[in-house]
Every structure is written in C-alpha cells, then in structure tokens.
C-alpha cells in the first residue's frame, strides 16, 4: 500500500515536470515563429475570394497579432478597456478604440472633414480642404478631390450628405446637430453646403460637427441599412464588419486582449494635397490591460510606446533612467484643458442652498488635490482661480478676472466656510457635530466610478472638507455604468463629471452644458446640466453668445456668466485636467510631438484630431 502511494507520487511529479517542460518549449516555439508569421502576413493581404480563405486570413491575423513585429508596431495603452462592441459609427456604444466621435475625433480608420488642433484652436483640413461662411450664415465646404475610400472610389459630397441625413434618420447620438442645421446639400461632387436653422442660429454648433462627425461611405452604409431591414435599432447595433472607410489604417484584429489596425498602403493621404506620405508605423496596436497598474508596468518596461493613462509621479520613471517623457518637460507635464467638477444636485434638500454649496467649495483643499490626487499634473487654483474657463490663455482672455476676484474662492477656507453656513442659519442644533437644515442633518454622498484613482482621491478630500465644516459628506464609488445612469437621471447628491474640454466651440459648449436649463424632468435622462440647475438669466446669456462676434461684447457676456457661476455654484471644478495624459516611452520609437519642437502637433496621443500628424514624424530610436 505504502509502496504504491510512493509510486503514484513519483509518477505525479514526473508528469508535472514533463508537462511544464513542454509548456516551456511551447512558448519558445511561438516566439520563434514570429518571423515566419510576418512573412505569411504579406500573402494574406492579397485579395481573397472564397469564404474559406477569409477564415484562414482571420486566423493568420490572429497569429500575426499575437506577435507583431516590434519595429513596425506602435503600441498604445489607456484608451480601450474591454473588448470592442462594433465597428459602427452610427452606434452609441461601440467601445471601440478607433471609433471616438467627440470634439476631437479619432481619425485612424474613419475620417472627419476637419481636424481640431487644441494648440492653436484651429481647424485643419482632412477630407475637406477649407470652408467659408457667407453673410447669411451658410457654410460652404470644399472636399479634397484626392480623397478616396479604401475600395478606391472617390469621397464625394454625396457621401457627406448621406452621413448627415443618416444620423438624422437613425436618430443617433449625433442627431442633435440637426437642431441647428436646416439642410445639408451637395452643390457639386466636391462641394457641400450646410444651411443653418434660422430659428436656432448657432454657428458654433455647426462648426463643432466638422471635426467630430465621421464621413461614411454611402454605398456600403446604405447596404448595411438595407441588410438590417431599415430598422433603426438594428442598424445602430450592427457590427459593420465589412466597413469601407477613408483613413490611413484598416481594422486588422481585435479580441479581449488587444486591438490592432494595419496601415492601408493605398491611403489617399499620400497625395501632396494632404500629408504627402504614409504614416510611419505599419501597425497600431492597443493592448487591453486589466487595470491602470498593469498598463503602467507594461509602459515602464517599454512594451507600450504611447500611454494615455494616469500614472502618478511619472517623473520617477525618468529618474529611474527609463526613456520616458511627457509633452511638457516640467510641471504640470501635460496640457490641461478640462475641468472635472463636483456637480450638485440642486433639487436635493440642503444642496438647494447656495450657502452649503459655496461652503463646500471654499473648504476644499485644491492645492492638496493638485499635488497629491493629481500628482502635480495640473496648474494650481492660485494661478488659475475658479471660473468656467479652462486654464489656457485663449479661454482666460475671454473674461475680466478683476471683476470676478471678489466671488472666487481660494480653497481650504474652513473658518470662512463655517461662518458662511452660520450666517445662513445652517447650524448644528443637536450637538452631534453635523449641521441641520430644516431640522434634518445635512448628509450627502459624493460619487464617481471606482478605480478612477485621481477622482476617487479628489473626492476623498472633498468629503474630508465637508466633515471639517460639519456636513456629513461620504464618498460613494460605483461602477462606470451605474455612474453614467446616475448622472443622466439625476440620481445623485454630488457627482463628479467633466463637461466639454477643448474644442472649436468651447468654452461656449462647456458653459451651455454646465448652466443652461434642461427640459429633462425628474428621473428622465438629461443631456446636459445634470445637476438640474435653472436660471433664466444664464439661459439668456448662453443663447446670446454664439451669435456675438464682437470681442468686447463677448468678454462682457462671458464675465457676466462667470459671475453667475461663481455666485450660484451649480458645480465647482476640483482640478484642471489634461485632456489626455500624453506620455511616451522611446525604447523603440522616437520623434513624438513635444511642446517645444515647433511641429504644432497637439498632445492628443497621435490619434485624436490633428494629433495624428505626429504619426508621420516618427522614426525608430537608435539602438
């Protein structure tokens, strides 16, 4: 009996050793075949006819994607978490790295008419060369005649018109642009005319669409519509595998660990009217990491070239002699364009009191948030005092800071905040250390998604400030999905959210989103102003701004609006935040855009808006 046990044990150990040996060898084999895989890839790019061949092609793609040639691949991190849902620009939830239709659209696969550059606040031509606006407000857009789709056919004005109409017909997330647009027509094959809605005249809202909306191929997308029986919901959730786009890259492979796009060597942008060349990396690959930490470790090791993740104390990396750099060499390291804010639900008892809102804003320690939660990646509030404007010079020039001075808070003013509450009659009457309003203890939560490190930590400090002035504030972490539902439906006390950052229509869009009253009722989805703040005077100013062109008048209106913001506090900014944490590791590639290199390429991680221009300047780093 004992003997047999002994034997089994020995057998088990042997099996384990052998299998582990095999596993080790197996790994070696796969790495060795990487060279073969790249050569076989060349054959798969040739046109395939039969369905079976497509099958093998996708298998090959998986093989190649598993071991992309390092010197031809630019690796990204921090822009995609989880597997892709679809390739559909009409979808509201693509969760797709290369589909991002916001103010600064991601233009590797699909392209927009123009690209926005946050460095100078200008639009640069992509599918279009230029636009003009006539005196009656009509926009005329000239398309680039060289532009063609990945199947070789020309991008025409018909495609543009189809795109605009389709968004309206399908009621997509972008369809709200039609509030401001009367019609989009093709006056010839390469000219598009956009007529604004006279009743809702807002040129900013039309301009905003140009760098945002992906132009789609009419033939292919109308086929997609037909295939889905012209059913709106089906079309909007269709996968759209056989897409035809115009960008420099084509989808190549994706699963739950990575997303890869491959360069289209037939890209129209090689024409001299556009870039005059192809982007340098053959593959762009986005690794999907389980969390920030995993991404940061991979980045530090040089497995990722371009990171958009928040990594605290990034300078420690170069102090450790890692070839890492940020867009700016010195603090704040990144360009801060957005204002993550704590939004008050002004319909809640207690929070409907301006004194409570203002006291919390005054007691919060912004310097501590800036230096610890934000790791110093933000200008201090003492340098850019609270306002609706981001800290860039262009936006700050729109307000008269001297007029706002008395209304602005400095932060960490615990005693003043207490005095303010006492004055408003909001006192602690039952001696439990917390103040009451209408006989009820003031307690509320401040929420944001869990794992958003810098936000979590900033809200901890807001909660601490609340506790210090006798408000029972606690933090609440939710999932990202819950958080989205909560801010849309108004199911929160205080929620952290970022309204629009930098775009062609900002700061107006931000002001609109922050302060303009919303028609949404209690429990309904609001599209802006999640705190349900309502002030007719602010509405009037916001409605007036887009039509004003005179600078002095504009400044007067913005200053007035900022005064209302600082007096009423529908929300308060906790920090200034970079749009993207543009951090590069130069182990493999070099030539990334930098603040002082004269290339005027913005720090939008080589994918968003005019930032893609950086892909054309890369070179391999010398070994």
């Amino acid at each position: 009996m004992k003997r047999s046990k002994h034997l089994t044990a020995i057998l088990l150990v042997m099996i384990l050793t052998v299998t582990s040996l095999f596993a080790g060898c197996g790994k070696k084999n796969t790495t060795d075949t990487s060279a073969d895989a790249t050569t076989s890839e060349a054959t798969t790019t040739e046109p395939t006819q039969a369905a079976t061949q497509t099958e093998t092609a996708s298998q090959d793609a998986a093989g190649v994607a598993a071991s992309l040639p390092r010197e031809e691949t630019l690796y990204f991190a921090g822009q995609q978490w989880g597997a892709i849902n679809d390739y559909n620009p009409f979808s509201s939830n693509s969760n797709n790295w290369w589909i991002e239709q916001n103010d600064d659209a991601r233009v590797m696969v699909y392209e927009t008419l123009f690209m926005y550059n946050q460095n100078d606040g200008k639009l640069y031509g992509l599918l279009a060369t230029d636009y003009e606006q006539s005196d009656d407000g009509v926009f005329t857009i000239h398309l680039n005649k060289d532009a063609h789709w990945s199947d070789g056919t020309t991008v025409t004005a018909e495609d543009v018109v189809y795109t605009f109409d389709a968004h309206k017909r399908l009621e997509t997330n972008q369809s709200s642009m039609w509030t401001y647009i009367d019609s989009v027509e093709a006056s010839d094959a390469s000219t598009v005319v956009i007529t604004p809605n006279k009743e809702n005249y807002n040129p900013l809202k039309i301009l905003e669409v140009l760098p945002k909306l992906y132009i789609v191929n009419k033939a292919q997308m109308s086929q997609l519509e037909a295939d889905n029986g012209n059913d709106k919901d089906k079309i909007k959730t269709a996968k759209n595998e056989n897409l035809i786009a115009s960008g420099p890259y084509k989808p190549y492979y994706d699963d739950e660990t990575k997303v890869v796009v491959i360069r289209d060597d037939n890209y129209w942008g090689q024409a001299d009217s556009m870039w005059g060349k192809l982007p340098v990396p053959k593959y762009l690959a986005h690794n999907i990491y389980i969390d920030n930490n995993a991404g940061a470790v991979a980045f530090e090791q040089g497995e990722v070239d371009m990171s958009q993740q928040f990594m605290s104390e990034v300078w420690k990396m170069w102090e450790d002699d890692k070839p890492v750099s940020t867009y700016l060499d010195e603090s704040p390291y990144y360009e801060c364009v957005s204002l993550p804010s704590a939004i008050f639900n002004v319909t809640k008892s207690g929070l409907d009191q301006v004194a409570v809102r203002k006291a919390l804003a005054m007691a919060t320690d912004y310097e501590q948030i800036a230096t610890t939660a934000m790791s110093g990646y933000t200008p201090l509030m003492s340098d850019s005092p609270p306002a609706l404007m981001n800290p860039t010079d262009t936006e700050r020039a729109l307000i008269d800071e001297a007029q706002l001075k008395d209304l602005q808070w400095q932060g960490k003013q615990v005693d003043e905040a207490k005095a303010l509450l006492d004055e408003a009659g909001i006192k602690d009457t039952d001696g439990d250390g917390y103040r009451e309003y209408k006989g009820k203890k003031i307690e509320f939560t401040v929420q944001c998604p869990s794992g958003w490190t810098d936000w979590n930590s900033a809200l901890e400090m807001v909660a601490a400030a609340g506790q210090a002035i006798g408000l029972d504030v606690t933090t609440l972490w939710t999932t990202a999905a819950e958080w989205t539902t909560n801010y849309l439906t108004g199911n929160f006390d205080v929620i952290m959210y970022t309204y629009a950052g930098a775009s062609i229509s900002n700061p107006w869009t931000r002001c609109f989103q922050t302060m303009h009253s919303t028609p949404a009722k209690d429990g309904e989805n609001a599209s802006w102003n999640y705190g349900r703040y309502n002030n007719p005077e602010a509405d009037k100013i916001i409605d007036e701004i887009p039509t004003v062109t005179e600078e002095a008048k504009l400044k007067e209106l913005y200053t007035k609006l900022n005064k209302i913001y600082l007096t009423d506090l529908p929300c308060f900014a906790l920090m200034y935040r970079p749009g993207l944490f543009h951090t590069v590791n130069e182990s493999v590639w070099t030539g990334f855009p930098q603040a002082d290199d004269g290339s005027n390429v913005p720090p939008t991680v080589l994918t968003d808006g005019y930032g893609i221009a950086g892909l054309y300047n890369l070179t391999l780093a010398a070994k």
């Binding site: 930490n293 890692k322 750099s325 501590q368 230096t371 930590s457 909660a463 972490w477």
Partner: protein, 417 residues
C-alpha cells in the same frame, strides 16, 4: 482555571504570540496619547519619503554656526553618481563639437569631469540621433549640478510689498550650518507620507486599531453564530440538525469570500461603516466553527454525565451550558482567535478590491493598502506606504495564529506532550 492559565503560559509558542500581540496592543493604546494629531490630517504631499522636514525660511533665520567642512565634496558624493559622471563623459565624447578627447580622458576625478562638462554643455547643441528622453536627461542633470561647484554662498532677498524692490535678507556662506534642533518649524514623518499626504505612522497606528476592532467584532459575531448553531445541531439533532447542517453546507460550498463580496457591494459604499463591514465578515465566516462544534457536541451527547443530567430532568439550555459547553470551550477559544485573524485579513482583502469602509472617516489596514496600490506605490518605489502595513497585518495574524497553536498544544490531547 488558574491551573489552565499556568499551563497555557508554559507553552512557548503561546507566550511568543502573546508578547507580539501585547506589544502591538500597547502601541495602539499608548501612541495616540503621545501623538495627538488627527491620523487623517493631510499635512504632507504625495509619498514624501521618511525623514524630518525643516522649514527652509526658518533655516535662513536661525542662528548659524561656522563649521569647517568641505561642502562641495560632500555635495558631489551625494548628488552626482558614477552613472551621471558617465553620462557627462558620453555627452562630451559624442555630442560636443569643441572638446578634445584628451581633455575628457585627463579628467579623472568627479570634480574635474563635472567642471569640464559644465564648461562645455549647451542645451542648444543638436544631439544627433538622441531621443527626447536622453536630451531631457541632460537638461535635468545640468539644472541639478549647475551650482554644485560654487563655494560662494547665496544671498537671500525678499520682495518689498510696497516698493516692489528686492531687499537683501541674509547672505549665506557655504560653511554656515544650523543646528536642526534650533529650527522652530519641523515635521517628522518617521514612515513618510501616503498618497494623501498623511503621516503613515500615525495613520498606521489608527488603522491597526480599527482593524483589530473589526477583527474582534467579526470574530465575536462568527463565533457566536457558529457556536449557537453548532451546539443546537449537535445536541438536539433530528430535524433541527438536518436544517442547520443543510444551511452550513450551503455556506461551505459557496466560497464565503464571494458571499462577502456580494453583501458588501450590495450594501453600497454609503452604507458601509467599518463596524458594519465587521458584522458582514462575521456573518459569512461562521460555518466552519459551526461544523466542528457540532461534531464535538455529537461526541459528547451520549456521555454518562449528559445522560445523568437528562435523567435528572434538567432543561435543554442548562444541559448545553453546563454539561456540553465547558468541554468544547477550549476549542471555541482557539477558533475565536483564528476568526479574529481571518476577520482582519478579510477586511484587508475587501478593502483591497475597493469594497471596504469609507476612507474619510476611518483608516484601516486594507484601505491603506488599497490606496497605496491605486497610486502605484510599488512602481514609484514608495515602500513606506505599503510595507509597514503588510508587516503589521502579518504581525497580528502571525501572533494570533501562534497563540492558537500554543493553545492547541495545551488542550488537544493528541498533541499534548
């Protein structure tokens, strides 16, 4: 009782565990008396390293002493490493258009090479083929060593609020020293600061205290439930035994940590105070206590003294309390100790995945770990933010487990020597 205690304290393992535990306990008892500041106060900045911080302006104002020491060499050895000197050599040899190679090879000492590099270095020189990271490295190095060879000292001036002119406040020689004890504004962070800028040591003591409380509460709840159900099931038997065993088995089959996660996330952050978390932990970790108490009770049920009690018509509670409980008590005490240890660990695990109590009200060991991880302390080398925490968790559970093993040796007839 007295005899048993004597026996227990003869066990070396128990005594070691007890001493460690007592030390931790005394620390959390007396430290707050000595250091009265609020453990959650954010005084410092992001991961300041351990040490004493003195006010720089105070240092200027404090009385100075002249000390004959070669400060330049002192600074050189501390600030310019061998790698940095190599970097300077590389720059001179690879990128500098003017310097002669002999000059570089002649400069042997640190002082010479730094002097030579400072003389030639120019950030506008195009560094052919070098990455931005390398270029930045040189710019930073220059900023760091720019004044290092100077022995002239500094002049400190202040802007006059009225005239706007600069007025000289003090002239500082390089050989001037101040006694650290003289400086009025000093802050000591014996274990540095965490990501919020809190003093880690003070926070750690407060956190250990909370975690111990959580462990005690969780252990008490778990033992109370386990003991009651186990005694009932074991002694009464029949239908009640079946039902209780069924429930216990169900809880045993589903990993308790999963139930814990479900309950904790169901409660939501707002409802999760530290003590509630403790109760939740207690409610999910009782099954094994229950199972073993039941097993022991069954073996006791038919002993003669129990049967005698039954014949004498004693009530069920009385039989259970006087005839059964004393015989399982030693085991229950050991189980209780283990439950405390596992309660502390469970809190740490829960907090690590973000399901612990709210940070702004209490500090717990798990929360400290969670924040250190979120702010990538291991990556940026801020060991002080997590190693002391890990050590205190290890110390507490180690001492408790040691005490348990010691007790086991005393009470378990099979292990008794």
């Amino acid at each position: 009782m007295k005899y048993q205690l004597q026996l227990v304290f003869k066990s070396q393992k128990f005594v070691t565990g007890f001493v460690i535990f007592a030390a931790v306990f005394l620390l959390i008892l007396f430290y707050p008396l000595l250091v009265t500041k609020n453990p959650l106060e954010m005084t410092g900045g992001l991961f300041y390293k351990p040490g004493t911080y003195v006010s720089v302006t105070d240092a200027v104002d404090t009385q100075s002493y002249k000390i004959n020491k070669d400060v330049v060499t002192g600074k050189l050895t501390k600030s310019v490493t061998a790698e940095e000197q190599q970097l300077m050599r590389d720059w001179l040899l690879n990128y500098c258009p003017e310097v002669k190679p002999e000059e570089v090879s002649d400069a042997k000492k640190a002082y010479d090479i730094i002097e030579l590099w400072l003389q030639y270095y120019d950030k506008t020189v195009e560094m052919e083929g070098a990455t931005k990271a390398v270029k930045n490295q040189y710019v930073r190095l220059y900023d760091k060593v720019e004044n290092i060879l100077e022995s002239e000292g500094y002049i400190v001036s202040r802007k006059n609020a009225e005239t706007g002119e600069m007025e000289e406040v003090a002239a500082i020689e390089t050989k001037e020293f101040v006694n650290v004890k003289d400086i009025p504004n000093r802050v000591t962070f014996p274990l540095g600061t965490d990501n919020f800028g809190r003093d880690v040591l003070t926070e750690l003591v407060a956190a250990t205290r909370t975690s111990l409380k959580i462990g005690l509460l969780a252990g008490t709840v778990a033992t109370a439930i386990g003991l009651t159900l186990g005694l009932l099931a074991g002694y009464v038997g029949g239908m009640i035994d079946n039902v209780i065993t069924f429930i216990t088995n169900m809880f045993t089959v589903i990993p308790s940590f999963i139930i814990l996660i479900l309950i904790a996330s169901g409660l939501g952050q707002a409802g999760r105070g530290a003590m509630l978390v403790a109760v939740v932990i207690g409610f999910t970790s009782w099954p094994w206590t229950c199972r073993s108490v039941r097993a022991q009770t069954i073996s006791l049920r038919n002993r003669d003294h129990v049967n005698l009690s039954k014949l004498s018509g004693h009530s069920l509670p009385r039989i259970v309390l006087t005839d059964i409980l004393p015989y399982v008590a030693s085991y229950v005490v050991m189980a209780y100790i283990l439950q405390i240890a596992s309660g502390i660990l469970s809190e740490a695990q829960l907090s690590m995945i973000g399901l612990g109590p709210s940070t702004n009200k209490v500090a717990t060991l798990g929360l400290m770990m969670n924040w250190a991880m979120q702010f990538q302390a291991p990556l940026s080398g801020a060991w002080w933010a997590f190693i002391p925490v890990v050590l205190s968790i290890a110390m507490i559970s180690f001492s408790l487990n040691l005490m348990n093993t010691g007790l086991d040796q005393v009470f378990n007839p099979q292990l008794r020597e």
